[in-house]
Symmetry: D2
Subunit: 312 residues, 4 copies
């Protein structure tokens, strides 16, 4: 990755260009509507941020507007659980790509209630179970963790989204009860789901998201707070799982086209880790059929291509 030498000066310009290109295109895809509260997101919003290890955050567009982080919360949940449980976590959740749509119950049945990885819904519910079992108030612990990483007290839950998630959570309840039936859930299903829906309903901006995950680009140490969030080895591990499983059923294609560990959410956000350099966060609500933001994908693909960011 030789981009820093000549690219740094032009990074703000590159972001502006890329953002402009994206918003000039007709909007493709469809804002998530599987829960009503998400369907009201403004399709026209579009932002991008690149936080670098020196503490700078370059942005373009709506990079400071908070949006529903949805599945991106799975990264924070996983890191928090790794901190508390150590390698014991990996006896209860796998680290292999799933090869199935993100909420498939079939694989969970075949594999006796052990989710394939922590980024499919079943895996994130399992992780939520470990948090509920470990913390007296797992929701508060989650929020504190995110705020500390983002350096912002403003990250918070959207109550309307939370209520909507809870009302439309039957499939996640099915996943949770199935794991419970295999003995792979410790806490009560209701509590686990309450935590899971809570973390999905947190709102953050591109700027906050990019800042909060800098430790993953920096061997586990957050370059701004100085906090050792994970060991170098665990940072590599999170990046590895992001790389094979972070972009739903399009993970292979994203690795193929972009080559960065990344995670997306149905709120339209995508974060991508650039090891040794920084973190990109992009946001635009309309999604493709895989559940990934179409403009988010375009902007990150273009940025990675211009700056030569692929880890491969």
């Amino acid at each position: 990755m030789q981009f820093l030498a000549d690219a740094d000066l032009s990074l703000p310009q590159a972001l502006r260009d890329i953002h402009r290109l994206a918003v000039e295109q007709p909007i493709e895809g469809k804002v998530a509507d599987y829960i009503p509260a998400l369907a009201t997101a403004d399709a026209i919003r579009c932002g991008i941020a690149f936080a670098t290890l020196d503490g700078e955050v370059h942005t373009a567009g709506d990079a400071e507007l908070p949006f529903s982080i949805q599945s991106i919360s799975k990264v924070f949940g996983l890191v928090l659980a790794m901190q508390r449980m150590g390698d014991g976590l990996w006896r209860r959740v796998g680290m292999e790509p799933s090869g199935q749509p993100f909420n498939s119950i079939v694989q969970l049945e075949w594999e006796h209630g052990i989710p394939r990885n922590p980024f499919i819904n079943a895996g994130a519910i399992l992780v939520a179970d470990t948090l509920v079992a470990h913390f007296s108030s797992s929701r508060q612990a989650f929020l504190s963790f995110v705020r500390r990483l983002a350096g912002s007290e403003y990250c918070d839950v959207n109550d309307e989204v939370l209520a909507s998630e809870t009302r439309h959570g039957s499939r996640n309840a099915a996943l949770a009860y199935l794991m419970k039936s295999f003995g792979n859930l410790e806490a009560e299903v209701d509590e686990v789901l309450a935590h899971y829906f809570f973390q999905c309903s947190v709102e953050m901006s591109c700027k906050e998201l990019a800042t909060s995950l800098l430790f993953l680009a920096n061997q586990g140490m957050h370059p701004i707070t100085g906090e050792k969030v994970t060991s170098p080895r665990d940072a590599h591990r999170v990046n590895a799982i992001l790389s094979t499983s972070g972009m739903y059923d399009q993970s292979g294609q994203f690795a193929f086209a972009v080559g960065l560990p990344a995670k997306s959410g149905v709120g339209g956000g995508i974060v991508a880790i650039v090891p040794g350099h920084g973190v990109i966060a992009a946001w635009s609500p309309p999604l493709n059929r895989h559940g990934n933001s179409t403009r988010g994908l375009s902007m990150i693909t273009e940025l990675a291509s211009r700056l030569g960011l692929s880890i491969f």
Copy 2:
């Protein structure tokens, strides 16, 4: 990846250490016996090679003995097909991890004869079909390609292995006929399988394997021959698919633990790409239950850890 500065001098020593550690351990795992000709491999053989972009190849142990490359041949087949077919190839084979055992027929059925990626058997058979359809003698073309990359005229097919593969190829025939029934195979099944079994039966040494794949660590250009084997983009793509799908149903775990694009074969070989630096090839016949060489895994994991090679 800052290892070169201080590690280069000690690379030969590191390889010797790692090799000694590996052979001092009791042998775990079992030599492949799904075809009789492989079952005769000498379980005690063990070698490792690290070819670097400057043209050096450091080795330890049995690094110059040829062995059956088996599924590692899928990498050569894929690159040869990419050269000839361009992006049209990706309409007939996917690039997503499979989440299924390497020879599963279930997924092929669900996905209407489009194999998930070129490193599962169905995908490699599909790639073989494109080679058979494109070359007047695809087997000769394959062998010439491998020899040129390895810089060795000695790479050749083991006739006994080839005969054994052919006699025990019913499952691969089932995969081929299933793709044929979905209209995703152009050539005659018999010819396609003949090519596929041929490439699986090629023998190479660790030294030859590491040398031959250097272009994947060098943006597509072979540093010794100077041949532009693929575009930089296609080199990244091959590494990306290796990263999510190269180690059978243990690909996620390998990314998690080692963090390098890699491919293994049931002959006991493993190759791992270190982008910007070189290629590691390890060999030891006994396999774990996933079909990966146990000592090969140990040696590569240890080497990557000592030298800090993870791409994450």
Copy 3:
């Protein structure tokens, strides 16, 4: 079916013989222990009853002891739902054999929340949903229905079994929530499960069971009460589904070996319909690996063979 002429006189003797043969054999199989309350059933108990259309009930062994009817309750639930909903029921549940273990969630996922038939757990939960939605108190309605058919006020729920079912009902909750997520459940999941666990926990004797289902052998009319429980067509339909799907994953084998519509439960009961003649009910708690009573199977197979009862 020419058995009546010469067999009627000897039916009591045949039942005694068959019962003696069964209890003389060593006990094979294992009492159900998936819920603790069932595990306490007395493995040595064994009874059989044959109720004929003329109102006689011949018995041998423990034919008047109540036991947990478990999945046999699915027959009563289905008939009650058919009475209330008519053919609309079949838009929400299928009538095809499942080819899968009785509680498989995989098929339910593939088929978008439409259970294959009313005798797998998902199907019976769907039927319970229609009862909950239709009756002000579906549990009371169920119990009244069963008592009326059995001609006995003593049929009742075992509270300990009910509590145990409820505590260990995670897998059934998973099935219910999955159907809910596909929009195929009207009532609240908790209420539906409460009904389902209630009906599974009803206790009846062989004598009561055989009597209660006589209408299925008599074109829908109960020969003792004179009640027209179903139309002749619906009686045929219930028998048809029993025939393809009543004996879990051993339904084909039972049709093959015995040739009578039948339903079993993990409490060790089996009922078999002899169209035009009567109903057999057998009970012995130890189960084979398919969940069917081993002695129950032996007794019914032997009786059907001696009397030439096969519908084929």
Copy 4:
């Protein structure tokens, strides 16, 4: 089944009525076109025959025109294999309904190469393997068997259909090679498929079909030739499997609506066994989406309803 008393006199009239009703309806469904030679069948042809145990054959419409029996041949193949192999056959093929489309490869993979029953394609190919292994010329043996049962020397193979089957047999080849890979096929795949395609390509008329299967309605004894084709027990068994698995993925619905053991073929034929009375054969080429003749279904359903033929 009390139909004989009053229905016998009117059986010819009933057949004529039912046939007229059927041909007066607009044609629904689509002539099979998965192989070109079948696609040329005349959609307007329509016939029905009812052979009774006294040796009479009542017919209406095109009941003496030969058509491609296709999957109905699986019944003859099974009976021939049962004659030769006895109960050993059931170690290599199951007797449970499949719950999957008739040619699904998924189940075969899950169940390690043991087909679920002899009426799915894999099961019939397995049966073909036993015939090839047993007879010096299995094709000749099959044809002689069918001719003897039908009392007609004219039953023969349609060479054009046979050639077409062979050219489009990739999916069946996949099934055969998959079974071979599990060690559940004795003979060479090519020979097994040659037999299988041969028996599918036999042509018979409704009259010949109904006559040929009379033994299944008569405890195994052919009432015209006097030949004891199977034991009573084996006749019941064949009827049992027909009952759960004879009508592709509509077997449950057919049992539900008609209640007779039956087998259909994509040539548009359906045979239905009326135990103790006779055999119905109907033919009309257009098929519904399950592969069953739409007019064939109508005619048999109507006849069974009018005469009260259900075994339930």
